[in-house]
């Protein structure tokens, strides 16, 4: 018993020693997606735990599916939700995030202006990292095939053909072509073709056009060089295939760049030849066929003002320059003083090339879901591109009507 008391008091003492961050009291509950960069941020925020403040962290790869319900509760399950451009829209649609202007004035002096996500003049989220799908390539394989680094999707196809013809690989390309990811690949490629998803100023869809057809045809051409199981591939599967050395070209997330060069799960030959570049352009257009994403945090509306303040201070600690300096490889940080790393090349090049951010429209989620479901038949060769796009629009219209957007 005495030992337990001693241990307990020791624990309290040690935690008060680290605690503080200048917070007097409050409850901080962090919810977010689960990948290394967010683990780093929430870990740094967790260091404020102790004294009168409790900091809990709950990371889950399906966070986007639970956050709306979690923040609808009053008081909210999470005082802060770690979100990206698309997930912020879901919170905004239901008014679940609170403006951060006052908290920033009080505690956010070292934020850069670009980190402040402003909607209608109010800061609704603080971004801390950028992300985008971009080209991963195997330098050794491209050299053996005698082709350069592709900068357009037409060159990607030519490179894949050269690799296959030389017998270097059976399926040189991999893509995240299952479910939600497939919808995003369509959105990326359609952006690259310069397409618009909606008729100007309305929620009416407008993807059934020549650019939409060209988008689908390019995706099908790419899938011809993919493993026949491509419709079951998500980011994890693509990463595994990459690390196994089965793939020479893929369009994968910047946040995976660190993971495929971390000295684990692959051979040094594959890792040392894994290089990153901007997402390719397509069809003679000049912007990379990808969408830019940021990850950041928003603070729940349904929390007390003292908890909101405690949360903001803890999160500012989480995204401090020290944290970024200690985790340089985890992500392309948007934090002041964080120098770009070799693994950030692809995201930065895509952003500099003029890639568009993922649209922050309230009805984009419905479009994304419809795309994920309806272009599968075309990729399986069961229907024409026109039919697939007509289906996509019809599925979107049915969902948008039910959601009250049309």
């Amino acid at each position: 018993m005495r030992i337990m008391i001693a241990a307990a008091s020791l624990a309290v003492m040690s935690s008060t020693a680290y605690a503080g961050c200048g917070i007097s009291s409050g409850s901080v509950r962090i919810g977010g997606n689960d990948f290394p960069a967010i683990q780093a941020v929430s870990g740094a925020a967790k260091a404020c735990d102790g004294g009168g403040v409790s900091v809990s962290v709950d990371l889950n790869k399906d966070h986007k599916d639970r956050q709306v319900a979690a923040l609808t509760a009053n008081p909210a399950q999470f005082t802060t939700s770690i979100i990206n451009n698309s997930a912020l829209v879901a919170l905004m649609n239901d008014g679940l995030a609170q403006p951060l202007d006052e908290l920033i004035a009080k505690h956010g002096q070292n934020l850069q202006d670009m980190q402040k996500v402003t909607i209608d003049g109010k800061v609704m989220a603080v971004a801390f990292m950028a992300n985008a799908q971009h080209l991963f390539y195997r330098k050794d394989i491209l050299d053996k095939a005698g082709v350069g680094v592709p900068s357009t999707y037409e060159e990607v196809l030519a490179a894949a053909k050269a690799i296959k013809d030389k017998g270097l690989m059976d399926y040189p390309i991999a893509g995240t072509y299952s479910g939600w990811n497939l919808g995003l690949e369509f959105i990326n490629m359609y952006h690259g073709h310069g397409g618009e998803f909606f008729k100007p100023g309305s929620a009416e869809p407008s993807v059934n056009n020549a650019k939409g057809i060209a988008t689908l045809n390019m995706m099908k051409a790419l899938s011809g060089y993919m493993n026949p199981d491509f419709l079951t591939y998500d980011s994890n599967a693509v990463q595994a295939d990459w690390e196994a050395g089965n793939v020479a070209l893929t369009n994968l997330w910047g946040s995976r760049a660190g993971a495929v060069t971390d000295g684990e799960g692959s051979t040094s030959e594959i890792e040392s030849n894994t290089m990153f570049a901007s997402a390719p352009t397509v069809a003679g257009q000049n912007i990379p066929a990808t969408t830019l994403w940021w990850d950041g945090f928003a603070i729940a509306k349904n929390v007390s003002s003292s908890d909101a303040e405690a949360t903001f201070i803890a999160m500012m600690n989480g995204i401090s320059p020290d944290m970024a300096a200690a985790n340089v490889d985890a992500a392309p940080w948007l934090i002041e003083g964080a120098a770009p790393q070799p693994t950030d090349v692809g995201v930065l090049a895509s952003a500099q090339g003029g890639a568009k951010p993922y649209p922050m429209l309230p009805y984009m989620g419905a479009m994304h879901s419809a795309a994920s479901a309806e272009i599968v038949d075309f990729l399986q060769g069961k229907e024409s591109a026109e039919q697939a796009l007509a289906d996509l629009e019809a599925a979107y219209i049915a969902a948008a009507k039910e959601k009250g957007f049309l």
Partner: protein
């Protein structure tokens, strides 16, 4: 039994059934008649790490006000049931009008999400259920003949597929049938076709899911039949033997008639279970080639990014209940008639 006694015995379970079965169904039925309010949209300026742009957002206050006035949403009648993502009457009418023959019409039908899911769900139910009955019966016969010291372990191992959580079972098989997995790789060698992939073509995906379904459900049917086999009257079997019946004749004329009520029971449970097939589709990542009614409901409820479609999911749920009722009707009517004859 006096009514009073009957009621005092039945009320706890009747109450539980009303609370946990009837009321939720009524609530889902009501939900399916409503859709969300029109969203009040306004144009604002958005700024972020990648620059500023004009964008639109939902005006939460205005939308909230409409919501508070009518919390259920806009009444849509059967609109959700008949829209393109469900029964799609308008699209079917068009397809009927445009199709020159049945093949074209069915192709058009299979292109609509609800019918696509219904085709797979029905095919799964109608293929898996009889196979589960047959396989379970034969395993039970075989195990029944084993010397008794082997029976215990054999029964335990035969039950494993049912003990394994469906999602885990399907995930394990998913990796085994991968082109680089042990089953997938062996099949490629066996058929001498390096491009053979069970996950690539819809037809092979369907067959894989059917086989998984039989593998997973057969133990249930086995264990029920095995229990039934212990009750087959020995004297009838003996008199059949004296009459010169061989093994198959005994099974056909004595064992099967004795086990028919159990078969009906298993068929009922399996029809219901299989009509709600869901986990293997998620586990096998097979939604590109095979969707089921339950999967559509899941997809409506779980599309993240705030696009959850409650009305749509509710409508599909009601249609699923209707489907189960239609499937079970013949068996239920049969049982009811049999009971009345006995009474």
């Amino acid at each position: 039994m006096p009514h009073r006694t009957f009621i005092s015995f039945i009320w706890p379970s009747a109450l539980a059934m009303i609370l946990f079965i009837a009321l939720p169904i009524v609530s889902v039925a009501v939900q399916s008649l409503y859709i969300q309010h029109e969203q009040v949209i306004e144009t604002v300026k958005n700024c972020g790490p990648f620059g500023c742009s004009e964008s639109v957002v939902v005006n939460v206050e205005a939308t909230e006000k409409i919501r508070a006035e009518q919390p259920l949403g806009r009444f849509n009648g059967l609109g959700t049931y008949t829209n393109r993502n469900h029964l799609a009457f308008a699209e079917i009418g068009e397809a009927w009008h445009d199709s020159s023959n049945w093949t074209v019409f069915f192709a058009a039908l299979g292109n609509l999400p609800f019918y696509k899911a219904l085709f797979f769900t029905l095919a799964y139910t109608l293929v898996v259920t009889p196979l589960v009955l047959l396989l379970g019966f034969f395993i039970a016969l075989a195990v029944n003949r084993l010397p008794s010291i082997y029976k215990g372990p054999t029964i335990f191992f035969s039950l494993l597929p049912m003990i394994v959580t469906p999602l885990i079972g399907s995930l394990i098989l998913f990796w085994m049938i991968d082109a680089k997995g042990i089953i997938g790789g062996s099949l490629q060698l066996l058929f001498d076709d390096p491009d053979l992939s069970l996950k690539a073509s819809p037809a092979l995906t369907w067959i894989t899911l059917f086989i998984y379904g039989v593998w997973h459900h057969a133990p249930f049917s086995f264990v029920v039949f095995y229990a039934g086999l212990q009750t087959v009257p020995k004297d009838i079997l003996e008199s059949a033997m004296i009459d010169g019946a061989n093994r198959w004749q005994k099974i056909y004329h004595v064992v099967i008639p004795h086990l028919i009520p159990l078969g009906v029971f298993i068929a009922l449970i399996q029809l219901m279970d299989n009509f709600r097939v869901f986990e293997p589709i998620v586990g096998f990542n097979a939604s590109a080639s095979a969707t089921s009614l339950s999967w559509i409901i899941y997809n409506d409820l779980r599309t993240g990014d705030g696009t959850t479609l409650f009305g749509s999911a509710a409508a599909t749920s009601m249609l699923t209940i209707l489907g189960v009722a239609i499937l079970l009707a013949p068996v239920l009517i049969r049982t009811w008639r049999a009971n009345r004859r006995m009474a």
